[in-house]
């Protein structure tokens, strides 16, 4: 091959190879080629692991015995080996035996299965209650009785998903704000959803429960070891289904208490920020980040949306019309009967103001409008 061609070939191949390799190299840290369920870090996850292994080994033995007989027959009773067919075609004793024995094996399995299930269902005497709400496409966590609530969204940038940037180690398993829990504390989860059915799954906890709009489901976990545990949404919920992971940060009890105290003061701090006046540049920067995090899932990073499904932001009457109030109404209150949620209750006034400012000026919209957090607050209060 000519020198030029070789260089061209290498130039094309290099990014492909490095992309392929970088992901793989980083995945060394994670569990590559895993073949089994994790034991996990809760008593329930361990109980589930144990029953899984018991049933698995019983099935392996059954398979070996049954296939063994069949393979033997395939060898010994071949016509090419001179086998002549026998004539028997029924045997009541055999039928009874191979009906009773499987039934007994099943009963043996059912006993530990029953006690493990009773464990899974026992949510009594929890110390902490966390409400988990599934949204398209993020989770909201509320520490009941503590006045702390926040949204937890995918933090992996779109560039990594669409292969214009190398994938980080926790690709698709990193979030804006993890759920934080104390170790060795029985935590009860109350699980529901805002829109469609989702499902909250953390394999290391042995916890999975459907999040059904209009229902509250309960489940629980008692985590034995501090650490970071990652989970997934486990019920098809639309196009963001693979993009709403769960990250739980389990801390020692003291660290958890300080975290909780700090979180409460953070709520007060955000209320203070609402009174501040920001520059257009500050709002645009914050708005771009908040938009990409909370809005681009439907309306796309380029603002184009999906024709017929999610409206475009570019040059629309809402984002470039004269009345900013219409834009505020759509963002704060949502649009009834559509998939556009009411973000007024989900995001802070600062984020809302930044997003609206960004939407009114990005992608060539250039209205020059600037919306301050106090404007959003006034809109909410004075409607």
């Amino acid at each position: 091959m000519s020198r030029r061609a070789t260089m061209l070939f290498a130039l094309v191949l290099a990014p492909v190879m490095s992309l392929a390799l970088s992901g793989k190299v980083l995945a060394e840290e994670a569990q590559r080629w895993a073949v089994n369920m994790p034991r996990g870090v809760t008593p329930v996850s361990n109980a589930i692991y144990d029953i899984h292994m018991i049933v698995f080994w019983i099935c392996v033995v059954i398979g070996v015995v049954v296939f063994g007989v069949m393979f033997y027959s395939m060898y010994a009773h071949r016509k090419s080996r001179g086998a002549v067919a026998a004539n028997f075609h029924e045997n009541t004793t055999a039928e009874v035996v191979w009906t009773v024995i499987p039934a007994l094996i099943l009963i043996v399995m059912a006993i530990p299965a029953t006690s493990t299930l009773l464990d899974v269902y026992d949510t009594s005497e929890a110390e902490i209650d966390i409400k988990v709400t599934g949204y398209q496409w993020k989770w909201q966590y509320e520490y009941l009785g503590e006045d702390v609530a926040y949204v937890s969204e995918l933090a992996t940038p779109e560039s990594e998903i669409y292969n214009t940037a190398p994938k980080g180690q926790y690709y698709l398993q990193e979030v804006s704000e993890p759920l934080v829990l104390p170790v060795k504390t029985k935590v009860r989860f109350l699980i529901t959803a805002k829109d469609v059915i989702h499902s909250w799954w953390v394999p290391d906890f042995g916890v999975k429960r459907d999040a059904i709009p209009g229902y509250v489901n309960e489940t629980w976990a008692y985590v034995n070891e501090p650490g970071v545990y990652r989970g997934e949404c486990a019920e098809l919920c639309g196009k963001g289904h693979p993009f709403m992971p769960i990250v739980v940060n389990v801390l020692e009890k003291e660290a958890y208490n300080s975290w909780l105290a700090e979180k409460k003061t953070e709520v007060a701090a955000i209320r203070e920020l609402t009174k501040k006046t920001f520059t257009k540049d500050e709002l645009m920067a914050q708005g771009e980040e908040a938009y990409n995090r909370s809005c681009s899932g439907c309306h796309m990073v380029n603002g184009e949306g999906i024709p017929g499904v999610f409206p475009s932001m570019i040059g629309s009457t809402v984002t470039t019309g004269d009345t900013i109030n219409k834009h505020l109404d759509v963002v704060v209150n949502g649009v009834a009967g559509s998939a556009m949620q009411a973000f007024g209750g989900q995001l802070s006034e600062v984020d809302l103001a930044a997003i609206i400012t960004y939407e009114r000026n990005a992608w060539g919209n250039d209205t020059g409008d600037v919306v301050q957090p106090i404007d959003v607050l006034k809109f909410k209060q004075g409607q």
């Binding site: 529901t192 209150n333 949502g334 009967g337 998939a339 009411a342 209750g345």
Partner: protein, 164 residues
């Protein structure tokens, strides 16, 4: 001429198919509702309140927690005013929810209750279903739930009432 046996089979099977379709549409939903009502499965509260004469059981307490969730496109502010109450079974207690219509238009909203654990659901009764409410900035009680004393002494002491 004797009836064609094939035709007899055809008619019977068509009737069977039609019957299963009607069963699915007209019988399955109500059966499901009745089953949920009787067993409390799914957390649906009991029907109209039946007065219980047994009075208040002072020997034990039940902890009832309240949470509220809005449907995704619902712009109202809707929260429980108190997260948790501890009551004696049969003791009248009021726990209010705060609801505010943030828009400038009149709206009618409905709140649906759901109780967990399920076996507690039959002891909760919706006295005043929240139906019409319009205007802005008003606070109101969505419904009064009275826990009645359970006949055999419920084991559960921790109940969550969820309103959507």
């Amino acid at each position: 001429m004797p009836t064609n046996p094939v035709r007899k089979t055809l008619v019977k099977l068509l009737a069977g198919a039609a019957g299963m379709f009607l069963f699915a549409i007209f019988l399955m939903p109500p059966l499901y509702d009745v089953f949920c009502d009787i067993t409390g499965i799914g957390g649906k509260t009991g029907g109209p309140y039946q007065v219980s004469e047994s009075g208040v059981d002072m020997s034990r307490t039940v902890k009832v927690q309240f949470v509220a969730t809005n449907n995704g496109a619902m712009p109202w502010e809707f929260t429980p005013k108190v997260f948790e109450v501890t009551v004696h079974p049969g003791e009248p207690t009021e726990a209010a929810f705060f609801a505010k219509n943030r828009t400038s238009r009149d709206m009618v909203a409905q709140a649906i209750p759901n109780v967990t654990p399920f076996n507690a659901a039959e002891y909760f009764f919706l006295l005043q279903p929240a139906t019409a409410r319009s205007g802005c900035g008003s606070r109101f009680t969505t419904g009064i739930y009275r826990g009645s004393r359970s006949a055999n002494g419920s084991q559960d002491d921790n109940v969550v009432l969820h309103i959507i």
